[in-house]
C-alpha cells in the first residue's frame, strides 16, 4: 500500500500491524530525547485546506521525532488564495521533491483525487464527512491499551454521525477488529442511508449505556442548529448528552472517548470529561505514536504495508 486514504483499505491485519509498531514509538516518545533518525532526509508536506490544530501538531510532532523535514503549505497565505487549483498546487509541491503529502480538506474525496497527480505518498488527515484514518488508528490503539481485544466488545458512538468522518472511520475500524457498534443519534444526525453499515442504531442512549464497554462521543457543532437538524443544544444534551447522572448507567470498566475538541456541557458534562474512565488525553498522546508508525511504514520501512480487503 502506498497511501493511507481510508481505514477500510488497511483491513484488520493492516490495522494490527500499525498498532504493533506504535508500541515501539510510544517507547521512543517516552525517552529523554524522543527522537530517532528513521526518516532523516525524507520530506513531509502538510496541505491543510481546513483549520486544524490538533491533527496538524500531532503529525508535525510525529514527523520531527522521526527526523523528517517538514514543510507547511499554508493555504491561507499561499497561492491557493490567489486562485490556484488543487492539481497545480499538488504538482508544485511534488516538483519540490516531497516524499509524503498529508492532506486535510473540507471536500470528501480530495485525497483520492490527489493521488492521480503526485508520486508522493498521500496520507488522509480528514476529508469532509468521509474519512480520518489516523484518528481511527489512535482510537483503536487507545482501546488496545485497556482491553486485550475488541472481539465482542460493545462500543456506542453517540452524536452527529451524519457529518462525522470520525464516526465513519471508527465504525469500520472497530468492527474490523471484532467489536459490535451501536450508533446513537437523533434521526436527523444519522446518514440518510445505513445500508451496508455494520452497526445497529438507537435513539435511546439510556438503553444502550448499560451494555457498553466504550462510549465514544462526537462533537456537536453549533451550526447544525441553523440547518433545523435539532431544536437546541439544550434538547440535545437532555436526549443524548453524557451527563453525570447517565454515567451511573455505565459498567465500572466502561471507557469514555472523544476525538476533541470537546463541548463541555453539551455532548459531555464537564465532570464526566475529568473522570478516570475518560481517556481523552490518552487519545491525544497516542496520536503522536500512531502517526509515527504510519509515517515510518509508508516512508521509511522499505516494506509494503500489508493492506486488507478491497
Amino acid at each position: 500500500m502506498r497511501h493511507l486514504l481510508s481505514i477500510e483499505d488497511l483491513g484488520a491485519a493492516g490495522i494490527n500491524e500499525i498498532l504493533d509498531l506504535s508500541d515501539t514509538f510510544v517507547e521512543v516518545s517516552g525517552r529523554s530525547i524522543p527522537k530517532v533518525p528513521a526518516l532523516r532526509g525524507k520530506t513531509v508536506a502538510w496541505l491543510f485546506y481546513e483549520d486544524s490544530t490538533r491533527t496538524r501538531l500531532s503529525f508535525e510532532t510525529a514527523a520531527k521525532r522521526l527526523s523528517a523535514d517538514t514543510m507547511n503549505f499554508g493555504v491561507s497565505s499561499s497561492s491557493v488564495n490567489k486562485g490556484e487549483g488543487l492539481r497545480d498546487t499538488v504538482e508544485t509541491i511534488t516538483a519540490m521533491g516531497v516524499d509524503a503529502i498529508v492532506v486535510r480538506h473540507a471536500s470528501p474525496g480530495v485525497p483520492w483525487q490527489i493521488t492521480r497527480w503526485t508520486d508522493a505518498c498521500v496520507i488522509n488527515a480528514g476529508d469532509g464527512w468521509h474519512q480520518h484514518p489516523t484518528q481511527a488508528l489512535l482510537d483503536c490503539y487507545t482501546l488496545r491499551q485497556h482491553f486485550d481485544s475488541l472481539e465482542g466488545r460493545h462500543i456506542a458512538i453517540v452524536g452527529d454521525i451524519k457529518h462525522s468522518r470520525v464516526a465513519r472511520s471508527d465504525l469500520l475500524a472497530f468492527t474490523m477488529l471484532g467489536a459490535e457498534v451501536t450508533l446513537v443519534a437523533p434521526q436527523t444526525l444519522l446518514p440518510p442511508s445505513l445500508e451496508g453499515w455494520p452497526a445497529k442504531t438507537s435513539h435511546d442512549i439510556d438503553a444502550v449505556l448499560p451494555s457498553a464497554d466504550v462510549v465514544y462521543l462526537l462533537r456537536m457543532q453549533r451550526e447544525r442548529m441553523h440547518e433545523a437538524l435539532l431544536p437546541s443544544l439544550r434538547e440535545y444534551r437532555a436526549g443524548y448528552g453524557l451527563t453525570l447522572d447517565r454515567c451511573a448507567l455505565l459498567a465500572d470498566h466502561a471507557l469514555v472517548m472523544h476525538p476533541g475538541p470537546m463541548n463541555r456541557g453539551v455532548e459531555i458534562d464537564p465532570e464526566v470529561a475529568d473522570l478516570d474512565r475518560s481517556v481523552v488525553v490518552e487519545q491525544v498522546a497516542n496520536g503522536v505514536a500512531v502517526r509515527m508508525a504510519v509515517l515510518y511504514l509508508l516512508l521509511g520501512s522499505g516494506v509494503e504495508l500489508t493492506g486488507g480487503a478491497r
Binding site: D127, P192, W197
Partner: protein, 430 residues
Amino acid sequence: MSLVIKGGTLVDATGTRRGDVRIEGDTIAAVGDGLTADRTIDAGGCVVSPGFVDLHTHLRQPGREQAETIETGGRGAALGGFTAVVAMPNTDPCMDSAAVIREVIEWARTAPCDVFPTAAITVGRRGEALSPMAELAQLGVRIFTDDGDGVQDDRLMKRALEYSVGLTPFTGGQSVTLAQHCEVSVLSEGGSMHEGEWSSRLGIPGQPSEAEELMVMRDIALARATGARVHLQHLSTEGSVEMVRRAKAAGLAVTAEATTHHFTLTDACCADYDPVFKVHPPLRGDRDVDAVKAGLADGTIDAIATDHAPHTRDSKELPFDQAPPGMLGLETALALALTELDIPLETLIGLLTWRPARIAGIDDVHGGPLVAGHQANLCVFDPELEWQVAGAAMASRSENSPYEGRTVRGRARHTVLHGEVVVHDGEAQR
C-alpha cells in the same frame, strides 16, 4: 446536384422498409428502389432515419467558449447523428432577451446542425420576474426554461404557464412549452450526488429523490390547472416516471425526456470521487434506472435527450463538491440507446426524432417522415458498429465523457442537413 442514399433500411414514424432516398436541393425528391443521382452515398447494412433531435443541449456560447461553442457543439451533434439541437439558456449573458437570442441564431447559421434556442422563463434565470416571453416567442423561441434552476416560486410558475397559453398571436398559432428542471432547491442545496446508500458511505452531501419529485408533482398540478404545455426535463427517479405516467393517462399536456446517463449509470459511479460523474439531477439507483428504461419503453417518456454539458478539464479537477455538474452526451447518445435499451428500433428512433421534434415545435422540418417533399434532414447509422468512447477524439472542446474507454455499439455514418452531407463516413465535413 442530386444525391441518393442507397441500400439502407428506412425507419420513421410510418414504419420500416428497405429503399433508396433521392435528395434534390434541401428536399427529399423520391423514395424507392433503384434510384440514381449525381452522387451516391452507401447505406448498406445501415438504418436511414430522420436526423436526431436533442431537446437538451448546452452549447456554452456566449460566455464559456473555452468549454464549447455553437460550432464545436454543432459538429459534435452532427457526428452523433443529430440535425437539430435545442440550446439551453444558461449562457453568460443568459438567453433571456431578444438581443442574446438574435446573436445565438446568427452564430448558429454556419453550424453543421440546426440550433433552436430556448429562452429563460424568468429574467436572469433568477426566478423573480418573467422574461419578455412574447417578444422572444416572436423570434422563434418555442421552449422556455430556467434549466439548471427550476422555477421555485409556485405563483410565478403558475403565472408563467398561464401567460404562455396566450402567446399564439406571436408564434403564428404554434403553442409554446415551458420546460422544467425539477428540483426543489432547499431540499437539494449543497448536494453533489444522489442521496442514499452511496452518498452516506462516501460522505458526500446528497440530493434526495423527493427534491425532484415534489416539483414534478407541482408542475403536473399546474399543468392541470392552466392547460399549458409542460415539459419535464431529465427525469431521474422512479417516482417522477410514475407521476408522469399517471398525468398522461389523465390526458394532461405533459411531456418528459430522459437522458442517456440516467438510464445507463448509477450513483455507484461516484465511488472514486471522479467529478466527471457529477451531474444534475444526479445519477440515481438501480431501481430508478430501471424505471427510466420502462418509461422509455412504454411511451411515458417522450424523448431521449443528452443534456450535453461540456466542462473544461480544469473545472472537472476541482473537489467533487465544488466541480460543476454535467457530462458530454451528443456523440454517445445513439450508441448507448442501442446498447442499453431493450426496445424495438422504431420506438428507439421515435424517442430520438419525431417525438422530440413535436415537443420542440419543429416537426415541420425535423423528425419528419422519409417521404418525397419533406426536408432532407436525416441520419444514416450503422447499428452494429462497435467502437470505443474517447473524450479526446470527440468534436467537443471538452472531454468530460463518463463513458471513457467503454465499448459501445452503433454509430452515425452519414448525417444530412437540409440536403447537405455534413458527416460522411463518420467524418465531419465542416
